[in-house]
Amino acid sequence: MANEGPTPLERFINGILPENPTFRQILGICPTLAVTGSVKGAMTMAAAVAFVLVCSNIVTSLLRRLLKPHLRILVFTLTIAAFVTMADRFLAAYMYDMSKLLGPYVPLIIVNCIIIARCEVCASRQGVVTAAADAVGQSIGHALGLLAVATIREMLGSGKWFGIDLGWGAAGFEQYRWGVMILPPGAFITLGLLLGTINWIGAARAKRAASAQKGA
């Protein structure tokens, strides 16, 4: 089985753009929408998800011979829950402000579709190295997705990036901040438009490639 599938390197690259969890697979969009009001919060969330994803993929991959088909989802979620508890306690101990900001969305990593999907699709069938490479690639892809949405929302909504004021207020744009971008509707609309843009770019590139092939 391990010989037929893509190599670890291919899986790693796949996760970043070709199978980006946010924009291609549309998985795990609850945190993508909820914590992207500020880039800092989004990046903390991405780090927590990366930790949980890598650890649970490795553990699932080690356990894969013991899994019974009808119990596997339960085993996945319990494994994930253990690592999420660790991440949650770590955030509460060392980054209390972030822990307050992210609120219930840290425990909600347990039911994040990306992690369960990766456990199911990859880790429960592949060796440890492949599973780890896949998890790292997917978490980088997820971080990129969060970064894109958070950048747009924070820049338009509060005129900052990573908490640094961009100087739009001084330039006289203070009154044109879009309050709605920080509120829930802004999240949905930003992600929807970003999805559309990425599909559009992808389609345009495919068209160009097809026409180039025809010309040659």
């Binding site: 795990g28 509120l183 949905f188 438009l193």
Partner: protein, 275 residues
Amino acid sequence: MTYVTSIILIAISTALINNMVFHFFVGNCPFIGVSRRVSTAFGMGAAVTFVTTLAALLSWTVTYFILRPSPCPSAAGGQPFTLAAWVWEKFGGNPKATVDLSILGYTVYIFLIAFAVQLVEMYVRKFFPPLYKAFGVFLPLITTNCVILFVCLEVSKHCIAGSPDFWNLDRTLIYSFFAGVGFMLAIVLMGGIREELDFANIPRPLRGPGITLIITGILALAFMGFTGVDKNLNELTRPKQAQAAKMVQTPSSPPAASTQPAGHNTVPQETPRLP
């Protein structure tokens, strides 16, 4: 009377103002995945409502009687203590210690949700075959539904005995039921809109999830219009005398959140917990 009023207030604030999908962003995967038809959307919503209520009941019980921090029986002094504390003291633990198992919370809630889903599936399949046909297929999917875990976490947060925002069992049940109803409302609304969308000419890149998210954003804007409704209703249902006294005390009180002019920069009073 006040009991009914409070139920209505909880219902409005949970299902409409703090709607699970539009305000807390939970349950988005099924919201986008299973909202193509009104009938399937309704089935999913009903299944989620059912399991949410059951899971909230279970998690309240487990949190209150086992997991929450509690003093040992001999040090409790009449306060209710948990089963864990009783076992701790019974088997020779230090009676001055506080027994707190809440670190196990996440694992236990996931286990409870899986248990509730399995139980409901077996029960419904055995006793209500038509109902099983209607929403049975969605049951295995919702083990990993964020709405249910979110409600369990909220319940556990309000399950510390003696704290001012302690929820007793009926409050928990009402809250969780209406949280599910809010999700059902959102997904059925979306199903209706998407059925009509089949006849619309949407730009190709936006088809599918893209346009669904944008419409969700517009619906979320519409649902923001409910902000402050519960506060105003609360004012209305108060006894008349208290109202009059309040008006005399603060003649030039600032207007409530919902009556503020909706400038493009105005952030309503009840902003979400994330900045």
